[in-house]
């Protein structure tokens, strides 16, 4: 064959966070920790993460929570927001990944906080595992672990959101800590 068939995908990656994203060291427990809640504006994301934070304070000795909202759910958190939360918090919860772009970006945020040295737990609806995994791979963290809650989340009432938060709590603890 005189000419090869050209590849339409290109090879230029512009990801800024580089390959083999670091994994932050785990804490033994959450006693005395400030829990950062990165809320992505999806329906029920705020009450869900608030309840996870409340339970981490009540049951696991975290000192308190600091919630911040990411205005553009489709994109990774802006650098200044990552910096602010990294300075003020000890561990991070991101979510709720409940759509095509926001599940992927919730995981991307988790990986960004890991790179900044903070253990992070992203929470996604279980309908978006494939896209969350694909984003982890793109961000140089193949196999990155995150927590899932059954789909759908947006239609849940306030009490159901609290139940879901309680159900995912052990997984969140397992992601954030490594008891000796």
């Amino acid at each position: 064959m005189p000419y090869p068939i050209l590849d339409p995908t290109g090879t230029t990656a512009t990801a800024t966070r580089g390959p083999q994203a670091p994994h932050a060291p785990r804490r033994r427990d959450l006693r005395g920790a400030t829990v950062g809640l990165l809320v992505n504006t999806k329906q029920n994301a705020a009450p869900f993460l608030d309840e996870v934070g409340r339970l981490l304070v009540q049951r696991h000795g975290a000192t308190g929570t600091m919630a911040r909202t990411k205005v553009n759910f489709a994109a990774p958190a802006p650098d200044d927001l990552v910096k602010e939360m990294t300075t003020a918090c000890d561990v991070i919860i991101t979510g709720i990944g409940d759509c095509g772009s926001c599940s992927a970006s919730a995981v991307a945020d988790g990986i960004a906080f890991e790179a900044a040295g903070l253990p992070a737990a992203a929470i996604c609806s279980d309908a978006f595992r494939v896209t969350a995994d694909a984003m982890a791979e793109l961000r140089g963290a193949p196999g990155y672990r995150y927590a899932t809650t059954p789909h759908p989340v947006a239609v849940l009432g306030p009490d159901q959101v609290k139940q879901r938060a309680a159900q995912v709590l052990d997984d969140v603890m397992n992601l954030l800590t490594e008891p000796e």
């Binding site: 339409p8 553009n72 489709a74």
Partner: protein, 345 residues
């Protein structure tokens, strides 16, 4: 007589492209360096120029990659400036630069071509405007889809999470029927002079026809369009955006009755909407920020809520044949940038 190409070699090349995962499901034209060079020769832009980037997936598209994908889509080289203009127009859309391609809504680009380039390249400007059947219309739209799939790496079931998608994704490229439109070309609404070869683009969530051919009263037609625009199913946020692709017959009827495009837009802005009771029945009467949700409050049941906040939220195009009074409501994902891009060599 030139001998016909070897079909087995052609088949092998097509299967090779499938095996690489490059195809949207239909056969691709295998792109070679000499073919892609013909595409690149139609533009003065540098092949390495980055024409779009999706930050969260860490991928971008260059002029060169756009050319490879346009060639694979079945474009002729001379269509390439239109592909570039269409892509530039789409990249002006906030949704297309953000998470739109990954969205569960699975939006479809709608590309509108204006000016002399329509006839120079043989775009269909008449019947069957939404396709199929015409190479420039079909392949320019397909090229955009291949760029998203291949250059951006956003593929179905992986980074692309469309729940159902919609008919017409990667195939809607209208050439406006300027010859039978009573109004200025769409590109003029996008800020360019009349008779400019230009492309405008936005993202759609779906299209719905308005078949109204037995009334002499233009207000009947507008009321029918308004009823279609006002369906609760598409209302997610406080505001919505819905364009109208008028057939020449409807457009001429309205113009003969004295309606300018701005008059039609003003009429629709005034009359599109629902009562509070209608919205409450569909669980969309409350607002949290800009998102609609169910609220038990009945105090606004009698109030009429308007949904189109500005003329830019109800863009108007004229397309199709002058053979029946059938127009199309096109539901816009996000909102149109309000700008057109000139086709340049």
């Amino acid at each position: 007589m030139t001998p016909a190409p070897d079909p087995e070699q052609a088949q092998a090349a097509i299967e090779y492209c499938y095996a690489q995962g490059w195809s949207d499901g239909l056969p691709l034209v295998p792109a070679s360096q000499p073919l892609v060079e013909k595409f690149l020769a139609t533009t003065s832009r540098n092949p390495d120029e980055v024409i779009g980037e999706i930050e969260q997936v860490g991928r971008n598209c260059t002029v060169y990659l756009a050319a490879v994908n346009a060639a694979m889509a079945g474009c002729l080289p001379e269509y390439f400036p239109v592909v570039l203009a269409a892509f530039d127009a789409l990249m002006r859309e906030r949704a297309a630069r953000g998470g739109g391609w990954q969205s569960t809504s699975g939006p479809a680009p709608m590309i509108v071509v204006n000016g002399p380039v329509r006839h120079e390249l043989g775009f269909n400007t008449a019947g069957g405007a939404f396709g199929p059947g015409f190479r420039p219309n079909a392949t320019v739209a397909r090229a955009i889809g291949l760029i998203v799939r291949n250059a951006f790496g956003i593929r179905p079931h992986v980074l692309e999470q469309a729940t159902q998608g919609l008919p017409g994704r990667w195939s809607i490229c209208l050439a406006e029927n300027e010859e039978e439109s009573p109004w200025p070309p769409f590109a003029v609404d996008g800020g360019l002079p009349s008779d400019t070869s230009a492309v405008s683009a936005t993202l759609l969530r779906t299209c719905e026809f308005v078949d109204n051919r037995h009334t002499p009263d233009p207000e009947h037609v507008l009321a029918d369009v308004a009823d279609t625009i006002s369906r609760t199913g598409s209302l997610i946020f406080r505001d919505t955006s819905a364009g109208v692709v008028f057939c020449p017959e409807h457009a001429q009827m309205l113009a003969d009755a004295g309606y300018t495009k701005a008059d039609v837009q003003a009429w629709l802005m005034e009359n599109c909407g629902r009562t509070g009771a209608d919205l409450r029945r569909a669980g969309k009467n409350g607002l949290r920020g800009i998102a609609r949700f169910a609220d038990a409050d009945t105090s606004a049941d009698d109030a009429f809520t308007r949904i189109l906040p500005s003329p830019r939220h109800v863009p108007i195009v004229v397309a199709g044949a002058r053979n029946a009074a059938i127009s199309m409501v096109v539901r816009i994902f996000g909102e149109w940038s309000g700008t057109a891009v000139e086709v340049t060599k």
